[in-house]
Point group: C2
Chain length 567, copies 2
């Protein structure tokens, strides 16, 4: 639903007022909508776009140099009136005629055509173009009946770039039609949206399902499936769009992944990451990539893929600069220095000399790290739930990621026969680097400290291990700043380290002492349920966690117990 | 929740891969995160930012000329590791030292400080700055404990602009601290967000309520209230922020309204529209305005207001150009032509000559228009619900808006004594212009056509009214293209027009004939429940409406009935 409003009946009016005020350097209010702050140069065809409100930056957010000259702003999801379209056209037309362009919807067609007739009756050259990129909305043989969705951006931008490049209205219309004929878009929706003032969503998608081809106003789609993984979604969108590759189109296309509102940029980037693999597979060369929220529908959760195949002329026009509130391109020159390459890997780790005993221990430690990872992996959900009570719910994910990175780092060097220190230092650094967050730093320090205590030369006996754990305990308290009773991992680590040292000093084997210490750590971890934690980013709802144990202490106890069983 | 993912444990890694691929002209992958595609000029202090994933464009989307040199990218809502921050710093530092800056959260502080120490140990000049703009997170006297939220943008941008302007690291740090000391932010949340792979939201806000001061990871706020109107929300945010105006601050400030994910731009513009009124009231001059989604938290519904008070130096640095994937400023010169003023009103309507009879009729029609508006107003919810079944749910809102505009247009000229035609033409044009959509065009045409049939000279008797309605019926069918049986307003209008003509011709009074015709229209409107409508944008779920009457036909019948009672 929408949350910020004064009066739903005045929603688009007040939104437009705020929009103009916030962007008064670029935009001015005109009857019927908004126009560029600057005058259309004499004789330049003006591009007027428009449609209902609720799709920002479409349409007012696409007005400015390099893009539209003006936009008629309708009410929420409703076409602007013919009067509005006419008024905006009159405000921006300056002798070059006007192209009125919008999505192909009954109300828009009616009103934009009405405005066109009125302009023509006054002796002003006017043309209309209704965007038809949505391949789900009619069959290929009825493509003129298709709706216009995200691909409209291409038509508006290329028409405007052509006008600014000196083309006359006929040429602008020819180019805009050429673009429209070469765009294909398919969208999906995961949830509906609720219009301002409405109490029920405009439409719904069942939980865990996805509507394929659902329109930006909730128009019915062509299919409904279970929510797929990103790779499957990418394939579904890509295969449908590529199947309609226009006749005579080359291999060069703009790829545009659009978010409708509640699907955020990180998710769109994941989707694009999977789409570009398919583009590679099918030999499509992306001449430009757009990923973002450029045609929205309030908080609708959904996304679309658009491809527009380009020729040299269209490509050049697409690349031209633009500066609007919602779309900016070609500002500061990006190539103002030496161009550097991607770097995705750090330099290879050096593996130094080590004794046979230490090498043997390292192999064993490699196996124990796998145990650590398996333990965390099988408890990740439970740890996440525990963490969600007081924290941000990512403890299980972060621990799993760190432990996996430690295993991978160990495996990457094991065939070069490292000593125990080298192996544990590498594993610890990988854990900290990949897990991130506070627990990542602390677990990385635990492994690294124990590794340094063991060294690469000496045989890692029980005393050395106990010393290493005791040093790790000190190190964790120093880095993290937590004390016993703060409801952290330290509440399990302190008694564990103490019991391990005591047990080894009392002459028990490492396995015996470790198992006893782990039992004590488990007991103490569970007892953290009675503690009140300190606040911090990792614990946004700390006070709610009274009565539940600390996930960091629990994961420490789980790991200690699992490792004990393998010793 | 998030919808697009392959493996929650690899969410931020795959998002970053897609991000780098989509913006490879601006960004390159480096160990630990991303960096500008171009090298840091020798001797220029490098600005390295960072934090958890899930806040796009923070942090990777803020890397590029005029903004950060690099960003360390942590896992979802988790600090990057010290190793990551160190690696990114090493990738971008080029002899001028490095400022490592991020929000003031325990994990980030730990990791950024660790990276700083490591850089310093290697002989590289390094400083840290932890942003503390969130006024809800600690009292003013403990401002160093505050969290960093949306205001970080100001620190990062101004630090980078200073570095690019030739300042050395000490000067950059001094300026960045000056900015941080002068930012105040307060946020609100309407819903929580669900992290990738999680099955439960990280936190929740009860429906119809608002959490005040809730952090961007759901950190607990300072208050919970009923969901306010935008004006009240603006006052709540503004008054809290302005109460902490920094000592010695002037009247000039940047105003920044940030959306957290599911609160979209139109809503943010409404909020800004109300905030600027308060800025006027309190004598704060906005030197720049930012409205948009610049620090997000997945699909969390929320918004924040930041103010940063500026001096001349800071203002100039804020205005400098920047070009990143998520923030672009100062591209194409916006003042490349004549500067035009806002135009918000059309020219005043001309009221011509009219007979006394027509003037008298116009006054009566003015009263009937009020009846029309009241009728629609009292049925707006019901009409919206009917429309939501098959359409986009805005029929009630659109009709109410149109009818209100018609009344206002009539009232605006009634004291100049217009004839019936002038009044109805003005009212009809206002209806079409303000209501928008298909129903707006059609009702505008109804009023305008009846008006032209009545004229300004003749006495509008029953025969003329009936003729006018018959012509309106024709006009509506011509413009809208609908026929009887298409489940539209026409299914009520056709029998109404016919019955009115028949009744008047049979010698009944206008009131008698109209009342009979309205009864027939009501019957026919209800019978549209049995019809299957044509598809179109206004009817995204047309097939679902079988069994419910058409809202356009029902609203026509309601209006006809109400007007009949007043004749």
């Amino acid at each position: 639903m929408s949350f910020i409003s004064n009066d739903p009946a005045r929603f688009s009016e007040q939104a437009t007022a705020g929009f103009v005020a916030a962007h008064s350097d670029l935009i001015r209010a005109v009857p019927g909508g908004v126009a560029r702050r600057t005058a259309t140069p004499a004789g330049q065809p003006a591009i007027v776009i428009g449609g209902g409100s609720g799709h920002y930056p479409a349409f007012g957010g696409l007005v400015g140099p390099g893009l539209a000259h003006g936009a008629a702003v309708g009410n929420v999801f409703a076409s602007p009136s013919g009067q509005q379209v006419y008024d905006v056209a009159k405000a921006v037309e300056n002798g070059g005629g006007v192209l009125l362009t919008c999505g192909n919807y009954a109300g828009d067609v009616l009103n934009f055509n009405q405005a066109k007739e009125r302009l023509i009756a006054e002796g002003i050259r006017a043309e209309t173009l209704f965007v038809t990129d949505d391949i789900s909305s009619a069959k290929p043989e009825e493509s003129a009946k298709r709706r216009g969705i995200a691909g409209g951006l291409a038509v508006y931008k290329i028409a405007a770039a052509a006008a600014e490049a000196g083309k006359d209205l006929d040429q602008v219309v020819e180019l805009a039609n050429r673009v429209n004929d070469n765009i294909r878009t398919l969208g999906v929706a995961f949830t509906g949206c609720t219009l301002p003032g409405a109490h029920e969503p405009l439409f719904t998608v069942p939980e865990g399902r996805m509507g394929v081809g659902v329109g930006i106003h909730g128009e019915p789609g062509i299919d409904e499936t279970d929510l797929p993984r990103s790779q499957e979604l990418a394939a579904r969108l890509w295969d449908a769009v590529i199947a309609e590759r226009p006749e005579g189109a080359g291999d060069r296309a703009v790829i545009f992944v659009n978010g409708l509102g509640a699907v955020k940029n990180e998710e769109l980037f994941i989707l694009y990451n999977d789409i570009r693999a398919l583009a590679d597979r099918d030999g499509i060369e992306p001449v430009a990539v757009e990923v973002g929220e450029l045609v929205t529908s309030f908080e609708m959760a959904g996304a679309s893929l658009s491809l527009w195949w380009v020729d040299d002329e269209i490509e050049q026009l697409w690349a031209a600069p633009a500066y609007t509130s919602g779309y900016r391109k070609g500002a500061v020159q990006a190539d103002q220095g030496e161009v550097l390459e991607d770097v995705s890997e750090s330099a290879e780790t050096e593996v130094g000399e080590a004794s046979d005993a230490s090498r043997q221990a390292a192999r064993r430690i490699g196996g124990l790290l796998k145990t650590v990872h398996e333990t965390i992996h099988s408890h990740a959900d439970e740890l996440g739930k525990l963490d969600a009570i007081a924290g941000d719910g990512d403890h299980g994910i972060g621990m799993e990621r760190g432990a996996r990175a430690a295993v991978e780092a160990a495996e990457a060097i094991l065939d070069r026969e490292p000593g125990a220190q080298t192996l544990l230092v590498q594993a610890g650094q990988a854990w900290a680097a990949q897990a991130g967050g506070t627990s990542g730093v602390l677990w990385g320090a635990v492994l690294e400290t124990i590794g340094r205590a063991l060294g690469d030369e000496d045989k890692p006996d029980a005393g050395r291990v106990a010393d290493g754990v005791a040093q790790a305990d000190e190190q964790v308290r120093k880095i993290g700043g937590a004390q016993a009773g703060d409801k952290t991992m330290v509440d399990a680590l302190i008694p564990f380290a103490q019991a391990l040292t005591d047990g080894v000093q009392a002459g028990r084997t490492l396995a015996e002492a470790w198992t006893e210490a782990a039992a004590l750590a488990t007991e103490q971890a569970e007892a953290t349920a009675d503690l009140m934690p300190k606040m911090g980013r990792a614990r946004p709802h700390a006070e709610k966690s009274l009565g539940t144990p600390d996930p960091g202490a629990i994961s420490f106890a789980l790991i200690a117990t699992a490792v004990g069983r393998k010793l």
